[in-house]
């Protein structure tokens, strides 16, 4: 008998615009001591399915249409709210995506951690606190006797997630539901948290539901994998079955979207377009100097894609912005085609801006919400006198064709598009001036995986077509390796290692690079994709 046996679970949302079937009859099971992963993109219903079983979906607008969820032979879906409450936090515990917002900022973590223990088991506060300290130590929080009295903001993101995990385990639950627990974290931290979850689950013999949008993340830890798309499970099976012989086209698409392998045709010549020398960009944050970029030098050759990799706080985005003069540079020079960009002002700077452009991370923030696609794309064309008022319409439509947007959408506003389409608009805007050099700052990290693959492909295509030189900034080594001719690894504002993708991946010299590489999720996938 499985620990949890879900059969034909169906959940819908009743809104003014009709009934939306969020979960449409899914069945899966979780065994003790095993990890079942539910994979799907945003809106696939993966979180709703798990939340609804525990009564955490507000009803209305939510509605359970049918099915059963047997946990210890009892049907969760038939339970009253007060019966469910006895199970939540005691037999079934949860951890969530963003450990910053999921811990109460007004309470010390100790007080928060002991709540389930005190409430469900009537343990005394002092006893519960001792248990909390013990667990904090077990999940790797240093000095737990003191830190148990800290507030959540006094921890880093990874540490907060450890606190969340400790809190979830305080009642020794039988089932743990982890909803995207590593999505908000840096890769090296992600690897640590994944390892921690796997270890704890083994040692305590508990069942885990691991919800994620990223197949690669669960590749190393999942026993069973269910792939969800628009409310249904399209394919399920053990890890090997999914990764080695996926049958459903959607699963194959997801697998193909995992970037892997190096770039096929790397550029090999020495014509330098951008030369960065001793670049320093320091910020003054409340009286303290933050050396975001500290004495960094590198070249970018004409026509190549240079990857810039690092975790949050490594200064990778700041370098991109410094090259384009979007942040004030503290020192050093940036030479673009024999001109020092850092010394340009006025007219000369404006002309230079035509030649170097940027693609931003968040397609929801990078487009002016009050301008139509037409206005957004026409603005750079008219500003730099590339087109006149008469000819601009044609140029805009041509751009839309190039980036794969339908012409009929030309008068629409950004909020009417999906994330991927918005990023296409943003790419179109960056390419409108026919720049020679583009900084792409995490251009796909805000997108669903299958959309990521499409956008990366588009960028590669357009890069060739427009003859672009590109600085590709990303936290994701796999994505960068797939795209870049050469890669620079950054750590805390300085360059750690530099080399071709091949060299970096096969023979990394520095310890930090090795650490980054081993943190890339999906080791068991090997270096070549299972589905080509």
């Amino acid at each position: 008998m499985a620990l949890l046996e879900v059969k034909d679970l169906a959940v819908s949302f009743v809104t003014r615009n009709g009934v939306n079937k969020a979960v449409d009859g899914i069945s899966f099971s979780v065994e003790s001591g095993k990890i079942t992963a539910i994979i799907g993109e945003s809106g696939s219903g993966k979180s709703v399915a798990c939340y609804s079983m525990l009564g955490l979906v507000p009803m209305p607008p939510g509605r359970i249409d049918g099915g059963s969820a047997l946990f210890n032979r009892q049907d969760l879906l038939q339970m009253s709210e007060s019966e469910l409450r006895k199970i939540r936090g005691r037999d079934i515990a949860m951890i969530f995506q963003d450990p910053m917002t999921c811990l109460n900022p007004y309470m010390r973590i100790g007080e928060q951690m002991i709540e389930p223990l005190v409430y469900h088991r009537g343990v005394s506060k002092a006893e519960a606190m001792a248990r909390a300290v013990e667990l904090l130590g077990e999940v790797g929080i240093r000095d737990p006797e003191t830190t148990v009295n800290n507030y959540p903001h006094e921890f880093s993101g990874g540490m907060r997630q450890r606190v969340m995990i400790a809190m979830a385990l305080i009642n020794e639950p039988k089932l743990l539901i982890a909803d995207e627990p590593t999505t908000a974290l840096d890769v090296t931290i992600q690897a640590q948290i994944l390892q921690l979850i796997a270890d704890l689950q083994k040692s305590r013999d508990i069942g885990v539901i691991f919800i994620s949008h990223d197949l690669a993340v669960v590749a190393d830890i999942a026993d069973e994998i269910c792939v969800m798309q628009t409310g249904t499970i399209v394919e399920k099976g053990d890890r090997a079955a999914i990764f080695d012989h996926a049958e459903h086209p959607y699963t194959q698409k997801l697998l193909a979207a995992i970037p892997s392998g190096g770039k096929e045709d790397t550029v090999e010549h020495d014509d330098t377009l951008v030369r960065v020398e001793n670049l320093r960009t320091w910020f003054n944050a409340e009286g303290q100097i933050v050396k975001a970029v500290d004495d960094v030098s590198f070249d970018i050759r004409r026509g190549e894609v240079l990857g810039l990799v690092g975790e949050s706080g490594s200064g990778k985005s700041t370098i991109g912005r410094s090259l384009l003069r979007l942040v004030p540079v503290t020192g050093g020079t940036v030479t673009f085609d024999d001109t020092d960009v850092t010394a340009l002002e006025g007219r000369a700077l404006k002309d230079m801006r035509r030649r170097m452009q940027m693609i931003f991370q968040d397609p929801f923030a990078s487009l002016n919400p009050r301008m139509t696609v037409f206005d957004t794309l026409a603005e750079p064309l008219l500003l730099h006198g590339i087109e006149n008022r008469k000819s601009v319409a044609q140029a805009v439509l041509k751009l839309m064709d190039d980036v794969g947007l339908v012409r009929s959408a030309v008068r629409k506003y950004p909020h009417e598009f999906s994330g991927g389409q918005r990023q296409r608009i943003a790419i179109g805007r960056a390419l409108a001036t026919r720049p020679e050099f583009v900084v792409a700052d995490e251009p796909v990290s805000a997108l669903d995986v299958t959309i990521q693959a499409q956008i990366l492909e588009l960028m590669q295509e357009l890069g060739r077509e427009y003859g672009l030189t590109m600085l590709f900034v990303s936290h994701d080594l796999a994505v960068v390796r797939h795209l870049a001719d050469r890669i620079i690894v950054l750590y805390q504002g300085r360059i750690v290692e530099e080399g071709s993708g091949e060299q970096l991946f096969t023979t990394p010299r520095e310890a930090y690079t090795q650490q980054l590489l081993s943190a890339i999720p999906g080791h068991s996938l090997g270096s070549t994709p299972a589905v080509s």
Partner: protein, 295 residues
């Protein structure tokens, strides 16, 4: 080729801007629509008062004295036999004028101040906003009373004084808007395209900061009207022969035991107007709130 382009553009689907979205949402909010209708009616009446008022403003009828509502005087008359409806209509002109003019003063100072502080940033911002903080700590209500005492009850001064109180919040809101917008990537994108600061402010910042400013303006008008009425009630605002709703309420309160209608009708008019403005402001806030509409 060019004709193709023209047909393509002509055949393009019309997009719906955030303003149109907001308008659709606002129209669904019955209370806000009610507020808008009442407000427009009040303004139209106020503008037309000299032509449509049932009696002359200064027409007294001492023989009649205070009389309850009747066919000749729909809302009754005051102790001098003056028609109350006429008084309320003329009073409305002043009350609404104070509301709109003082709010405009606040809008002008606050938006400019906040936009500069937010856009320039750094030390300038720190100094400008520190000043706002200091002024915030001042007891302005007491100061206005003082001003009215010292300089006499002067209408222009009243507008300026009230406007000077209300601009502080406006400045804070505008600064907050500009600051958060400046960090948005679309403004960075505009910089990287090579747009001049003036163009960025005009095309990218102002249209996006407008929503909260409109909402707050709608909510400032009632609080300004309340302030005027408060001063007039204390005898420190509008003075006879001019009148305002606050002054009428003040007179009504003095004689409410004998002639309750003199208190109730002006009070009702003021309350309904304040209601309408607040409903409209709340409705606009919901309709324009991007955060609320995303989910």
């Amino acid at each position: 080729m060019n004709t193709d382009v023209i047909t393509d553009i002509a055949q393009a689907e019309e997009g719906t801007s955030l303003w149109q979205d907001a308008w659709v949402r606002l129209r669904k909010n019955h209370l806000a629509v009610f507020g808008l209708v009442v407000l427009v009616t009040m303004i139209v009446i106020a503008l037309l008062t000299p032509w449509i008022a049932p009696y002359a403003y200064d027409a007294q009828n001492l023989d009649l004295g205070a009389s309850p509502p009747s066919a000749a005087h729909w809302l009754g008359t005051d102790v001098f036999g003056r028609d109350l409806l006429t008084q309320i209509m003329y009073g409305g002109r002043i009350s609404l004028a104070v509301g709109f003019i003082a709010t405009s003063v606040a809008l002008l100072i606050g938006v400019t101040w906040g936009a500069i502080a937010g856009y320039v940033g750094g030390r300038t911002d720190a100094i400008m906003m520190r000043l706002v903080d200091i002024l915030y700590a001042l007891p302005f209500m007491i100061f206005i009373v003082l001003l009215m005492v010292v300089f006499g009850r002067n209408m222009v001064l009243l507008f300026l004084a009230i406007g000077a109180v209300e601009w502080l919040t406006m400045a804070r809101i505008m600064r907050g808007q500009v600051q958060s917008l400046r960090q948005q990537e679309f403004v960075e994108a505009a910089v990287s395209l090579g747009l001049s600061p003036a163009t960025i402010i005009r095309r990218h910042l102002v249209p996006n900061a407008l929503g909260p400013i409109i909402v707050y303006t709608t909510l400032t008008i009632p609080s300004v009207m309340l302030l005027e009425a408060f001063l007039s009630f204390l005898g420190l605002g509008i003075q006879p022969p001019q009148t305002s709703w606050g002054l009428l309420i003040s007179y009504g309160a003095e004689t409410m035991e004998e002639y309750p209608w003199l208190l109730i009708y002006p009070g009702l008019t003021l309350t309904i107007t304040l209601f309408s403005l607040n409903f409209l402001g709340d409705g606009l806030r919901d309709a324009l709130d991007v955060r609320g509409s995303k989910d």
